[in-house]
């Protein structure tokens, strides 16, 4: 990503299989590449990665639709409450 200098970077569950130290290294790398000219989309299962790569916006996908959007605090709420309350809302 650093070498290719993309305008739009998609990170698809890059955190899967990483231990906490590796997660921090990856997050530091991504943070070093944040730039006013670049858009970044981080796809993740867990809130943990977002402790290190702090997003501007969080969107929750359920059954092929975005059912809720918010700021970084939405990720924390999901960590506490899980996804079920949103799945019921979507159905």
């Amino acid at each position: 990503m650093a070498v290719l200098n993309p305008k739009f970077a998609i990170l698809d569950e890059t955190d899967s299989g990483l231990d906490i130290d590796a997660l921090k290294i990856v997050a530091n790398g991504v943070n070093a590449l944040r730039s006013p000219e670049r858009a970044i989309l981080v796809v993740t299962h867990y809130q943990r990665l977002l402790d290190y790569i702090v997003p501007d916006f969080v969107h929750v996908l359920c059954d092929g639709r975005i059912v809720k959007s918010g700021g970084k605090e939405l990720a924390l709420e999901l960590e506490k409450r899980g996804y079920a309350w949103l799945e019921t809302a979507a159905a």
Binding site: M1, N5, I40, P55, R65
Partner: protein, 146 residues
């Protein structure tokens, strides 16, 4: 005009609808996170944006920097500045990371009418980037994703 504009995007795999109308706008400088339970369509969304052929787009549109993204091949998308880090990257034994990255960089430079980098210039550039990311230089001589 927004930088990335996804409108009512719908996609299916093997005839089964996975994405059922995604609307999302991303501006330069912004970091957006997509979260969701297993099977919600997270990876499908990434794959459709990158242009993976397993998925069929059944409706909606994606504009990227004023261009119709869905109309471009995966290579063209990459040349226009789209990048994707995979969840399960493919190993390419026998091809070094250095060689692989140089080919990618030069394909993009060529697309923009820029002169291709030679091995010396490329190595200098890549080492600066690795220092930025505090990466060990031995990665360059390893095979891709080994």
């Amino acid at each position: 005009m927004a930088f990335v504009e996804i409108n009512n995007l719908q996609a299916a795999v093997g005839g089964k609808p996975i994405l059922k109308g995604i609307d999302l706008t991303i501006n330069p400088g912004e970091v957006h996170a997509i979260m969701g339970p297993n099977g919600s369509g997270k990876s499908t969304l990434s794959s459709v944006l990158a242009g993976r052929e397993t998925y069929t787009v059944t409706g909606g549109s994606v504009l990227f920097d004023g261009k119709d993204l869905l109309d471009l091949s995966p290579e063209e998308r990459a040349c226009e500045g789209l990048f994707m880090a995979f969840q399960y990257p493919v190993e390419i034994p026998g091809v070094t990371t250095s060689y692989f990255l140089m080919a990618a960089v030069n394909a993009i430079r060529k697309h923009h009418g820029q002169e291709e980098l030679d091995a010396m210039d490329f190595l200098k550039m890549v080492k600066e980037k690795m220092a930025l990311l505090e990466m060990d230089k031995t990665f360059l001589n390893r095979s891709v994703n080994e």
